[in-house]
Amino acid sequence: MPTYDALQYDPPAPMASVSLREINGREAVSDVILLLDTGADITLLPRKAVERLGVKPVSGAEYELLGFNGTKTMSQAVELDMFFLKRAFRGRYLITDAEHGVLGRDILAAVVILLNGPGKEWSEHHYRNLITTTELYLPDSCPLLITSRSNPRTVTYGTYPFSLDRL
């Protein structure tokens, strides 16, 4: 179960362990620790992990970043596969000199995550395969049978509009 880091962060912060692989390569670097940061536009990978993988920065590709306190910094970019929640995210990432990286919204916007702060753990939330309310146009209190494409034997009874936490 993915956990929070209560040693370096107060309050504790959700952390992810990802793997990196060169595009079309075979070698991978595992257990790369990233802070889940919904305020971050993009994902930053620790330089040490990228160098261990042997991936070189994209020539001429540097990006100017702004920190939450207005700090400006420049970052080099690499292109690789990042494995997270049983998905490979192929594309461009920035590099940080910090020990831990940052998992930003370029990745977080593609997944559904449930943060359990009191329990200091987080998990992927699996209602993404269900029909969402935005795809329905029904009168209030309309009875529904809700099932999942990934697990069609699971049926939930409800009425429209239903609460996501019932799924």
Binding site: D37, M74, F89, G91, D97
Partner: protein, 71 residues
């Protein structure tokens, strides 16, 4: 009063000026450390792109992988 700027480098903890520059003994100098004023490389919290339009450079191709995929 004109203030000349003379380039030099730090070597073994001492500042060495260009070879063609000789200053009188006890000349008062001011040292500006140029490289410290360059934008540092990334070590930043909650980063945002300074140029938001660059976000398209970071769109990802997402592929589902099996649980027993060999990484």
């Amino acid at each position: 009063m004109s203030v000349p700027a003379i380039e030099g480098v730090v070597e073994n903890g001492k500042i060495r000026l260009r070879e063609d520059v000789a200053l009188p003994e006890h000349t008062k100098v001011y040292v500006i450390v140029a490289e410290l004023y360059e934008t540092p490389f990334a070590k930043i919290h909650t980063p945002r792109l300074a140029h938001a339009e660059q976000a398209r450079d970071f769109r990802k191709q997402v592929v589902e992988v099996s649980a027993d995929a060999d990484l």
